[in-house]
Symmetry: C2
Amino acid sequence: MAPAPSLSAGELAAAPDPAGAATPAFSPLYRQIKALMLQSLEAGEWKPGEAIPSEMDLATRYRVSQGTVRKAVDELAAENLVVRRQGKGTFVATHAEQHVRYRFLKLVPDSGNNEGPAERSVLECKRARAPAEVARALALRPGDAVLQARRVLSFGGVPTILEDLWLPGNAFKGLSAEQMTGFVGPTYVMFEVDFGVRMVRAEEKIRAVAADTSQAALLKVEPGSPLLSVERVAYTYNDVPMELRRGLYRTDTHHYRNELS
Amino acid sequence: MAPAPSLSAGELAAAPDPAGAATPAFSPLYRQIKALMLQSLEAGEWKPGEAIPSEMDLATRYRVSQGTVRKAVDELAAENLVVRRQGKGTFVATHAEQHVRYRFLKLVPDSGNNEGPAERSVLECKRARAPAEVARALALRPGDAVLQARRVLSFGGVPTILEDLWLPGNAFKGLSAEQMTGFVGPTYVMFEVDFGVRMVRAEEKIRAVAADTSQAALLKVEPGSPLLSVERVAYTYNDVPMELRRGLYRTDTHHYRNELS
DNA sequence: GAGTGGTCTAGACCACACT
DNA sequence: GTGTGGTCTAGACCACTCC
């Protein structure tokens, strides 16, 4: 499958030409290696938190030089799929690491300092049929089974985030309100531990909206108060959408922090 | 200045130890090269849009191998400071490129498609003294000279963004309302062309706020309507803040789009 | 064809963590 | 000490752009 060690770049297997692709799309060796490694990640051969084989081992396995493996791993690391630790090895990234917990939550207190984990209050967690809009976001068909949950996150006793979650019913069979309440740690860690679903990236659409009466009651603000609406679609490997989450954030003591470059 | 070609990594010049640095901070050769290149960028030896010397030339200049230069350039490219173009060379990044114009503007129409440039209406552009808050953001002293501007951006005739800008008076001497109105292209291109100031990154703090009466009038919405408040500090090379911009975005037909990874 | 960035290899040595 | 990732080199060849 992998080319023999002494092959020159020009003799690489031609990349399979997807139907309708505009250009032949030459694919260098290290990208093919990367794709193979992605398969191993996706298939669960290497699990979150575990070490993957050393660069030398991978070089032997794929019959390429260590430098080529290195480039493949570099890209995986740049995409936060693996984490390198000098002297120790390369590990499958997980949301459980202390340093990057709540990686997808960009809401920070105005005081700037990080704060402890939020207090959670799960209001609802039930099976349902996907409305059209939810189905579209999750690449399901309207009416397919989904899990729907609603919860409030508070910081220092102040309700700050009201969230609605939709999850594909297939992958999250059996998720319960008790599980959401009782699990110690971020939701995305629970997804990894209990369901083997690892979120690797997300897209958010942000708007300013006015709180309706029920939202206002839950967040203890005046009806009509401005809230930040954050609609997030989170993806697992291979750009498969696995969660739709709509958050309403109070931004009187917190703000959404973003870095542009 | 640069080490002789055959030096091994262990003989690198020790990184100058900044006062109070916690750790010795070993600095690999390619980072030293990168720092030298940053100096050339900052000093204007290589100007936005221009090609920098080829990798071979840089390798000769710094007395290192091409591979080491490559790693330095890789990092500069990852930070969007330069752009590589195979077969042509490596170029100093600029906000003028077609592809990345409005790189810092994350507001997109709900329809998803990109739209043409906004119509600008400059309401004000005057010299002023920096209020405490502005001074802090721009690393000035309260009372220092700043330029303050206010403008409205409209898309398809609909006023969508109300922006207040504060710029350090020193670097932007002579900026006029006519200049802001007449310049064809994004503001950040004008900053490069007319003032030699290139913004390389920015930080934003986002909140939901209610429009006051004057803001509502300018954006043609009801007073009290929810608006997205986007407070941006833009930095030039070496993390020097050069612009404070507070935008109010209508999000009834547009949304702020963010990618997390 | 000449010049530029991009890929790949092979080997040496360094920094770091564990034991 | 051993094993891991990290750096550096030198040389070969490929892909792309322009003349």
